[in-house]
Symmetry: C3
Subunit: 166 residues, 3 copies
C-alpha cells in the first residue's frame, strides 16, 4: 500500500489485537516490536478480549514468571485471565511460553507490552470496548495513545503496508 | 495498496469471515459496517464455519435477544450454533455480547448481517464451502452477492487497502 | 500495495500460519495454492503452533485418510496433533474435513503442504520457533525455503498485496 501521510518512505503496520490469549498476544507483540525495531511505524488496536492486555493488574506482580502471573490474575476475580487458547497450563503451552519469556527476558505480559511501547509501538485502546467494559484510561498501563474508534483505526490501516487481525 | 479499478480514490477492505463464533462475527461486522459508513468499499468472503452466518434460520426468531437466538439455533439440530470461542454462555461472554447487542440495537445475528448488507457491504458466500455443505442460495438470507471462488476473492483482496482474516 | 521488487506486475500474498489446527491449516493452504495457481507469488511463514505443519511424521503414513493421520500423530507422543479448533473428531468437523480431503484428493496434511510447495508456494519455517522447539531443517519435509526471522518476513509482507494472519 502507499503511505502518503507517513514519514517519507517509512513503512507501516496496523494490527488488531482481538484476543487476550497468551499464544495470540505473543505474536502480536513480537511482530510489533520486530517491526518497530526495523524502523516501521506500528499501530496496535486493542479491542474485544484484547483490551484486557492493556489493563494494569490490581496487584502488580514483579520478578515472577508468566505462569504465576496467570494465577495471580485469576485470583483477582472479575477479570478474564490471560490463558492459552489451544493448550492449557500444564502441557506444551506452558513449556513454550516459559521458553519465550526467558528468551525475551520478560517476567510478565505487562512487561512485554511496555517493551513494545518503549520501542515506539503505538498502542490504541478501542473506545467502544472501553465503554462496554466500563473502563477508563486510569485502568490501563501508562503511555498509551488516546482511545480510538474503529473508523479512525481503519483510516490508519488503509495507509498501512501490512494489516493483520490477530 | 493501490486501487486501480475502484471508484476514484475510494478505499477498499476485504475480509475473510472464517468463523461462526459470535465473538469473531461481531468484529467482522463492526469493522465492515464502520468501513462502509466511512465510504469504504467493503467485501466479506464467508467461508468454512463462517458460511453459517449467512444461513436463514429455519425457525425465524423475532424480537428476542442474542442468547435466546443461540438456544433456538441449538434446538434446531444439524446446524452448528453460533457460540463464543473463548467463554461459553453464562460468563463474561454473555454479558459482553448482550451489551453489544443493546448498543447496536439488534436482536439477532441475522439482523446484524442485514444491517451490514443494507449499508452496502458486499457479502459473498464461498462457492466451495456451499458445495461441501450442500447449500444453495435459497438457504441464505436475501440480498447477497453471487457466490465466489477463492481465486475471485483473492483478486478483490489484492486491490484492497486492508485485508483481514477473521 | 506496490510490488517494487517483484516480477513486473506479479501480485504477492504473505500469510502467517500460526495454528496447527486442521480447520486453519486448510484455509492457509487453499488460499495459498489458489493464489499460486493464479500466478501470484505466495509466501507462508510457519510460526508458533503452525511450525508443526512442516514437520515430517516419524511414522510416515500413506494411503490413509485425515482422521487416521490424526490418530497416528497423536500416538507418536511428544508432538501436538493437528486437530480442529472448534469441533473435535466425531462431529461436523470430521465430516467437513473428510469431504475436503476427498475433493482435493489428498490423504494427509503433509500431502497438502507438498502440493502447495510443488505449485511454487514458498514455505518459510520461523527461525525463533525452530529454536524454541529445538528443531532443525532435518525435522521438516523437503523443499522448504531457508528458515526466516520475523524481520525478514515483515519485509516480504510489506511488499505484498495481501497480508493475512491465519
Amino acid at each position: 500500500m502507499s503511505e502518503p501521510n507517513g514519514e517519507k518512505g517509512q513503512q507501516r503496520m496496523s494490527i488488531v489485537c482481538w484476543s487476550s490469549n497468551l499464544d495470540r498476544v505473543w505474536p502480536v507483540l513480537i511482530l510489533a516490536t520486530t517491526g518497530a525495531a526495523s524502523g516501521m511505524q506500528v499501530n496496535i488496536f486493542f479491542t474485544f478480549w484484547g483490551l484486557r492486555v492493556l489493563q494494569k493488574n490490581k496487584k502488580r506482580i514483579t520478578g515472577t514468571n508468566w505462569m504465576q502471573v496467570g494465577e495471580s490474575v485469576m485470583d483477582q476475580g472479575g477479570t478474564k485471565p490471560l490463558h492459552l487458547s489451544t493448550m492449557h497450563m500444564g502441557g506444551m503451552g506452558t513449556w513454550m511460553i516459559k521458553r519465550m519469556a526467558k528468551k525475551y527476558k520478560v517476567a510478565s505480559p505487562n512487561e512485554l507490552v511496555e517493551m513494545a511501547r518503549d520501542l515506539g509501538v503505538q498502542l490504541y485502546p478501542c473506545q467502544m470496548t472501553m465503554e462496554l467494559y466500563g473502563l477508563t484510561k486510569d485502568d490501563f498501563i501508562d503511555g498509551l495513545e488516546p482511545s480510538l474508534g474503529a473508523a479512525s483505526f481503519l483510516d490508519m490501516a488503509a495507509d498501512s503496508d501490512i494489516t493483520l487481525f490477530i
